[in-house]
Every structure is written in structure tokens, then in C-alpha cells.
Symmetry: C2
Subunit: 348 residues, 2 copies
DNA sequence: TTGTAAGCGTTATCAC
DNA sequence: GTGATAACGCTTACAA
């Protein structure tokens, strides 16, 4: 058949079902508002014509797209992919679709892609982190778009958020290591610019050490993008320096794995010669480095909660403005003080 | 200010710039079609009013949403997250936005979410794999939506696709192992229902062995969902059986890592007692299992190519209907025959 | 319960 | 180059 068939529209269904377009519209979106008999007629017409509503027209008339936008740093990091997956799943179950954008840790890109999402007409937005260009907030409030910040907690109290206390998580790790007698610390941190998660983790470490009168010397803090290579390079620089640390804390699991891999390459034994710890803790990473102590973040729950938060607000319900999810320190194996250090201390 | 300010629209800009709405529209989408002077006036008006176009109205009038939908199994698997990331990035650079949906390896869900994407008005669709419900194709052709299948190659030749030859990849691994003298094979496969990637990998293994007159016995093929736990369970069942294999091929890298982890648990040495190989090969997995031989799939290139394929067609350009991306066997360490087997053979 | 009809904010086809 | 103005397909008061 070489029928030029134009796309079937609402009025076609209406004609076939012998009702008005209004009735068809109701039959589709508010089925309980039409008499069962006519409902059946409409549904039959829809089916036989293979009618599919045109989102654009629907959105224009109803001012709703049933679409939620998410702006995340990257999908290359499994941790964000995880959260995004849970987000998508929860939205789907509620009849919403996810519009996704990544900014690769670039603030300008973030503004641009967020604008694009807003132009596409998202009903709500999920942003990752709390540090954002003021323009972002201006755009969202200009269009009255509900949003929720995730992964971190907004200390200003101005923005709705559901996230983790990254600083507290860092305190936990540092205190754990302090408890084992470590005094020589180093940190391989993620890039802290525009990234309060990385900043808070570094801050938490500093604060915990400060209580014991310990300072993180500048050359003991290495700041690099999240990648295996960064972890390797960071560790190499630290351990080949004049005074290598006994404990290296890594900004996330990828950096930690990289650091461990480099230890293997250099012949440095973990944890006998140096303790490596990290954050974020994806199953695969911790499984493969059985001795790695990390802080586990419930990322799937985060995605789900972010979704329900927005959906609730869109439905006009009240929701908690700020929501903190608990994290968990996972101690695997030992993070004992290296032998050489124990020896040195005993000699004093 | 408690201005009730309604959203600024095109006509507001037109009034301020003292031109018609038509001119504003042109100034925005075809700047070169308007006189520089008026263009400047319009742009100034847009800026001062903070005007942002309404996607729904634009889409309704132009029949274009500048949106591409992607339907993938899951983001929990890093391999798909990777492809999706590249896809999103390439689309973004071309001014398109990604609408994302996951089906969790469930064919019914796939139909449902794809329909949702089509209703939202995607300009094109990226599907993963070649096995899909006929309804899917009907829906897409009904709306005349261009689409591209990815990851696998469509043998029927009916559908545009850009993907890998999974069967050939499996042939490579199997032949590699055969070359080392292995004869006792097993496979821990992903679920093959609605998944031609998993099927093709299994088929490739079977075909390679058949050439040497070797059959994969039913109890040597274990089919499980992709997960670390599956890899563990699969390996345990195989190695604790009466006749353990000398080579276990895993359907993807996650299964392979799980299998290796279980070997560690059971005290089985790799590759001295059993060779583990896999597919998909994410950097982190192979780094952590340095001896793991796998087939590497260029997944980021795949995402990028899928995007450009679609974008080209939307721009009316000709493109290759079927596009195969080369994969690469990554041999790390050795996959030698286990000592006990070498011994047994020598004794004959 | 159903029908009528007025928008929703852009784009595109014409004239000018 | 620019300006009227008619679509675009659906939702939603308001009426009946």
C-alpha cells in the first residue's frame, strides 16, 4: 500500500467513535470521567486507528510535558550512572520521561545544557551538587520550574535537596585511620572547583586531623580529575616523595583503585606499607580490592528519592525541603599502621 | 517584587523590538535571513526580557523536537552507560537533547517505554540490539521515525544499524583458547532471551568448537543475568562439578569478574587451574584482573556513531545502512592449559 | 455525561 | 527583508 496516510489525530478518533474531540481527550486522560460505553467506543477507535497522541500539542495546551530533566557531571562514572538509573526507573513508573544532560564538570556547559532542557519544557529538574552558576537558579525560578539538588546538602538552606553529608563521611574515614595510629596522611582528591562534594570530603579530612593537631601539608594533597590514571599518578607522586605518608585517602573509588593498581606496579604492599581508603564504593571496585576501606553511599536510593521528591511537589504535596541520606563506613581487611612506622615509634 | 509576570513570549519580544513575530522567529532560527540592524534590535529585546522559547509550541508548529530517544537495557551496566554517555555528548554538540529509557531486559517494558518516547515526540530513536517486538517497528514506521539499531548487526538487512559482530568476537576468544590446547570448555552466558548479543556470543563459541569437533555439553552452559553474583554462582557450579572445565568463557566482563572473585574464594588459581575470559572489557575490570583476556568493544565510538548516523539522516544526508565496528582481542597474561590437564594428556 | 469553541506560542506561507 | 495570518493538535472552561 502506498497510502500517503497523514498521521491520525484526535479528531479522526472522534469522528470514528462518533463523539467530540473533548470526549476523546477525556477518555484518554480521565477515563473515569466518561461513560463506560462511550469509553469502550473511543478505545476501540484508538486501537483500530493506531492513534498516538502528539506530545507537543498536548504540552502546549496543558502546559505539562511529563518530562523531568537531569543534569549530571558524567555517565562515565558508574556512581552517577547508578543514581541516574534509579531516577529514570522511578520516573518511568510514574509516567514521566527523563531528559538527560551531562556537563563534564564544566560550569559553562552546565548552564548551556540546563537551558536546553528548560527550553525543551521539562516539568522539573534534578541537579547534581549544590554549587551552580547563579544564572541556573535565575532560569529555573524565571520559568517557575521545581528542582531538587542531589548528592550534597545545601548549607544555605535556600534550596530543596536530597543528599549525603560528604564532610561527615570524610570525618569517619579519617577518624578510623587515626584510631589505628596513623599520623602521616595524604589525600588524592577530585577537582574541587565547582564541586562541593570533593571540597567537603577534603574539608572533613582536614577537620578530623585538626582535632588531633595534625595538618595536611600542601604537597600531601593532590587534586586530579576522577580517573584511574589520576589515582596512579597521585599515588606515585606521594609515595616517591621524601616523606611518604602511611595513609592515603582517595576522593572516590576510581581514584582509590588507581592508587592500588599503582602500588602493585611499584611493588608497594597494601596495607602493609600504606593504607588506601576511598569513597563512593561501587560493588565491583570493592570486590576486587578486598582490603579497601571506603564509605558506601546509597546511590540508587538517592535517585529514587530525588524522583519522588519532584513528583510529589508536582502533585502539589508537601515534602521535606532537605533530606539527608545516611552513609556507611565499610571496613574491609585492616588499615593498620605500616610496620616501618610502628617500628620507628617504638624506638623513640 | 511580587510581579505576577506571565512568561515572556515571542510577541512580547516582537512588540519591544518593534517588529513582527515572524521576524523575531526568523531572527532566532535563521539569523542570516534578517538585516543585521533588526537582528541586533531583536537580540537586545530577547536579552532584556530574558526570553526563552517554548519547546512545545515550537515543536507543534515545526514538527521537530530536536530530541532523540534512546532505549537501552540498563544504566547499571557500565558498558551501556558508556555508550549512552558518548551518545548524549554527540547529540548535545549538535543541539539535540537525549530522552532516555531503560527496559531492564524486559520486552514488554521496552514496548511501553518506547511508545512513551514516541509520544513525547522524539525526532529519532536509538535502540539497543536487533531483537525487538514487531510492535516497535510498527510504531516507528507509523510515525515515520528514523531509527538505528546498535551493538549488534541486523542479519536480515532490513534495519539500519551500527554495531559489533558479536559472533566473530566469540570466535576469536574460543580460537585463542583452542590454540593454547584447551578442550574442556564452559560458558557462563548472559540471558539469551530477547538478547541476540548474548546469543551470538554463545553461538560463536559453539561454532568455533564445532570446527574442532568439540561440543559444549548442556551442563557446561550456564545462563544467568549479568551480575557479579551470577558470575560467582556460575563458576562455582562449573568447578565443583564432576568434570570441571579448563576454560570458562564469560558473557561479559561483569560475569568474568564475578567468576574470578569466586575462584579466589574457592582457592582456585587463575589461570593455573582454570582460564577465565570475557567480553566487553571495561578499563576498571581489566585493570583489576590483570590476567583476564577479553574482547574489547569500542563503546564510546559506538555511541558517537549512532548519534551521527541519526543526525545525518535527519539532515537528509545519505548514510551507510549497516556499519560494523571492529573489536579487539585483548590478551593479558596467559591463558595456558592448566597443569593437571597437560599432565593427563602427556600420560596418554 | 457530552459538546462547543477558545486558546496554547510558534512556525511557515504568502503577499508586500 | 518584513509583516499578516493561518495552521499545528490538543486541553479545558463553559454550556447544554
Amino acid at each position: 500500500m502506498k497510502t500517503p496516510k497523514k498521521t491520525v489525530k484526535l479528531s479522526d478518533v472522534a469522528r470514528l467513535a462518533r463523539v467530540s474531540t473533548a470526549t476523546v481527550s477525556r477518555a484518554i486522560s480521565l477515563p473515569r470521567k466518561v461513560k463506560p460505553l462511550t469509553l469502550a467506543r473511543v478505545q476501540e477507535a484508538v486501537r483500530s486507528l493506531g492513534y498516538v497522541a502528539l506530545g507537543a500539542a498536548r504540552a502546549l495546551a496543558s502546559r505539562r510535558t511529563h518530562t523531568i530533566g537531569a543534569v549530571i557531571p558524567t555517565l562515565d562514572n558508574a556512581i552517577f550512572a547508578n543514581t541516574t538509573h534509579a531516577l529514570q526507573k522511578t520516573l518511568d513508573e510514574a509516567g514521566y520521561t527523563l531528559l538527560l544532560a551531562c556537563h563534564e564538570f564544566d560550569a559553562e556547559v552546565e548552564v548551556r545544557v540546563t537551558r536546553a532542557l528548560i527550553e525543551r519544557g521539562v516539568d522539573g529538574l534534578v541537579l547534581l551538587g549544590t554549587s551552580h552558576d547563579p544564572q541556573l537558579y535565575a532560569m529555573m525560578s524565571g520559568r517557575q520550574i521545581p528542582y531538587v539538588l542531589t548528592w550534597a546538602l545545601d548549607e544555605s538552606g535556600k534550596h530543596p535537596c536530597v543528599g549525603f553529608n560528604n564532610r561527615a563521611a570524610a570525618l569517619q574515614v579519617a577518624n578510623h585511620l587515626l584510631g589505628f595510629g596513623h599520623r602521616e596522611f595524604a589525600m588524592i582528591s577530585g577537582v574541587t572547583a565547582n564541586n562541593e562534594r570533593a571540597r567537603d570530603r577534603l574539608r572533613g579530612v582536614r577537620d578530623a586531623l585538626a582535632v588531633r593537631g595534625i595538618k595536611l601539608k600542601p604537597d600531601r594533597v593532590i587534586e586530579k580529575p576522577y580517573s584511574l590514571a589520576s589515582g596512579r599518578e597521585g599515588l606515585r607522586a606521594l609515595m616517591l616523595s621524601a616523606e611518604p605518608p602511611t595513609a592515603v585517602m582517595c576522593g572516590n573509588d576510581v581514584l582509590a583503585i588507581g592508587a592500588i593498581a599503582e602500588c602493585n606496579t611499584l611493588g608497594i604492599r597494601v596495607p602493609q606499607q600504606v593504607s588506601i581508603t576511598g569513597f563512593d564504593d561501587m560493588e565491583i571496585a570493592s570486590l576486587l580490592s578486598p582490603g579497601l576501606t571506603t564509605v558506601h553511599f546509597p546511590t540508587a536510593e538517592l535517585g529514587q528519592l530525588a524522583a519522588t521528591h519532584l513528583l510529589s511537589r508536582l502533585a502539589g504535596k508537601q515534602v521535606a525541603w532537605q533530606h539527608e541520606l545516611p552513609v556507611e563506613l565499610k571496613v574491609r581487611g585492616t588499615t593498620a599502621l605500616p610496620a616501618r612506622t610502628r617500628l620507628r615509634r617504638a624506638q623513640r
